[in-house]
């Protein structure tokens, strides 16, 4: 049975289009981007409403796909995260209408 994975990539807003291009290039059928409003990491806090430059902003990119495709994508994502800050998690999920992924 095909296994489906949910990629959650928390990455800088400024760099998120790069991540999106990686996902598209790897053939993921879709993704959705969510704006974060605050966060903490490396002992620094950031908050969207209090940073006029918005350079600390993060977003979360969620993309669901079958295991094979997701695994393929991960190499390029690793290359991207070599340059940018961000974290990636993979979660096993059950999908409805598997045909569409």
């Amino acid at each position: 049975m095909t296994k489906y994975l949910r990629i959650e990539l928390i990455i800088e807003r400024m760099a998120h289009k790069r991540a999106c291009r990686v996902l598209e290039a790897a053939g993921m059928t879709g993704y959705t981007v969510f704006p974060a409003m605050a966060g903490y990491g490396g002992s620094k806090r950031w908050s969207r409403d209090t940073d006029i430059s918005a350079s600390g902003d993060m977003v979360s990119i969620v993309s669901i796909g079958d295991e094979a495709k997701v695994r393929d994508t991960m190499d390029e994502i690793a290359n991207l995260l070599g340059a940018h800050i961000g974290i990636v998690t993979l979660t096993e999920v059950e999908v409805m209408r598997p045909g569409r992924f």
Partner: protein, 332 residues
């Protein structure tokens, strides 16, 4: 000199600066208040439209002379040049590595539009006049510094050869040359120029009448940002770095004053060119740096530019820059 002191005092007591101080004060006291980002960004677009239109309308009144062209050129050259000096100073006096020094240098070569606006007010209060083409200078000075910084950061061995995954031909160029402030400033300048005084009469109540008030609201937000940045980021700043944030604008100012002197610029124009050169970016350049030099630390360059140099410029700096402008015109 007395007149300069008057300007300094009336600058410091103008509601605009007082609201900035209020925001900074509230942030340092750890108030939770904030201006919603979407609202502040909307106001920023308004401010840039207003500045661009004003400059364009003024430019439409006079023909484009060679003098004006030379001032535009001087702005570009200064923006290319200042980061070189800033970089060398940072490497000599601080412990910042090549990338962080380059990223910080880019901020000081580029400009701050709000500082420019505050200077425009102070110039007007001093009884001086300034030409609309200084808005064009501001727009032109935003980006050359970024190019210099990228060059500085990429010198030397061991630099990444292959591009970051997902990066796209031209994405940086679009970010740098077509960011909101350049699009709106240049676009509004052109529209003001085309439509002229008459054509823009019906939009003056919005863009001229409200300008000062909106600026108060915006500076309240900038104060909150600057104060919070400082509170959270000051640990990253050594004395040497803070020192740089204070003397670099003065150094830039002196260089710009030299250029203004050579070009024979009238005092109002000179004061604005000097202020632009002395000001440091905190929106456009940080954004570009996240793309181009992601390994540089915003907590350094942003805290310095927004938390140290910006407050310095809008309070103490501007009167000094006006004084410099008068000096080179033999009126100091």
């Amino acid at each position: 000199m007395g007149a300069v002191l008057d300007v300094a005092i009336s600058t410091l007591l103008s509601p605009i600066i007082l609201f900035f101080a209020l925001g900074m004060f509230a942030a340092l006291l750890r108030s939770q208040m904030s201006v919603p980002e979407a609202f502040a960004k909307g106001l920023a677009i308004y401010l840039m439209m207003a500045i661009g239109l004003k400059g364009g309308v003024e430019m439409s009144k006079n023909p484009l002379t060679m003098d004006v062209m030379l001032v535009l050129l001087a702005g570009v050259v200064l923006s290319f040049l200042i980061p070189l000096i800033a970089f060398v100073l940072l490497r000599l006096t601080t412990k910042l590595d090549q990338t962080n020094a380059a990223a910080t240098a880019a901020h000081y070569g580029s400009i701050s539009i709000v500082t420019f606006v505050a200077a425009t007010e102070a110039v007007r209060l001093s009884g001086l006049d300034a030409g609309g083409h200084l808005v064009a200078v501001a727009a032109l000075m935003e980006t050359p510094a970024i190019i210099t910084a990228l060059f500085l950061a990429s010198r030397g061995a061991g630099k990444r050869d292959e591009p970051v995954a997902g990066s796209e031909q031209g994405e940086l160029i679009r970010e740098v040359f077509l960011n909101a402030s350049i699009v709106v400033l240049v676009g509004a300048l052109a529209i003001g120029w085309i439509a002229g005084e008459e054509g823009t009469a019906s939009i003056q109540p919005f863009f001229v009448g409200l300008f000062q008030g909106v600026l108060c609201l915006f500076l309240l937000d900038m104060g909150l940002s600057a104060g919070r940045g400082l509170r959270q980021g000051w640990r990253q700043l050594t004395a040497a770095i803070v020192g740089f944030g204070l003397y670099m604008p003065l150094l830039s100012a002196v260089i710009a004053a030299g250029a203004a002197y050579l070009l024979g610029m009238p005092p109002g124009d000179a004061a604005l060119l000097i202020t632009l050169t002395a000001s440091a970016s905190y929106i456009a350049v940080p954004a570009a740096m996240r793309l181009a030099l992601p390994e540089a630390k915003p907590s350094i360059y942003l805290t310095l530019s927004l938390g140290v140099t910006f407050p310095f410029n809008v309070t103490i700096g501007i009167p000094i820059y006006i004084y410099l402008a008068l000096l080179i015109n033999g009126q100091g």
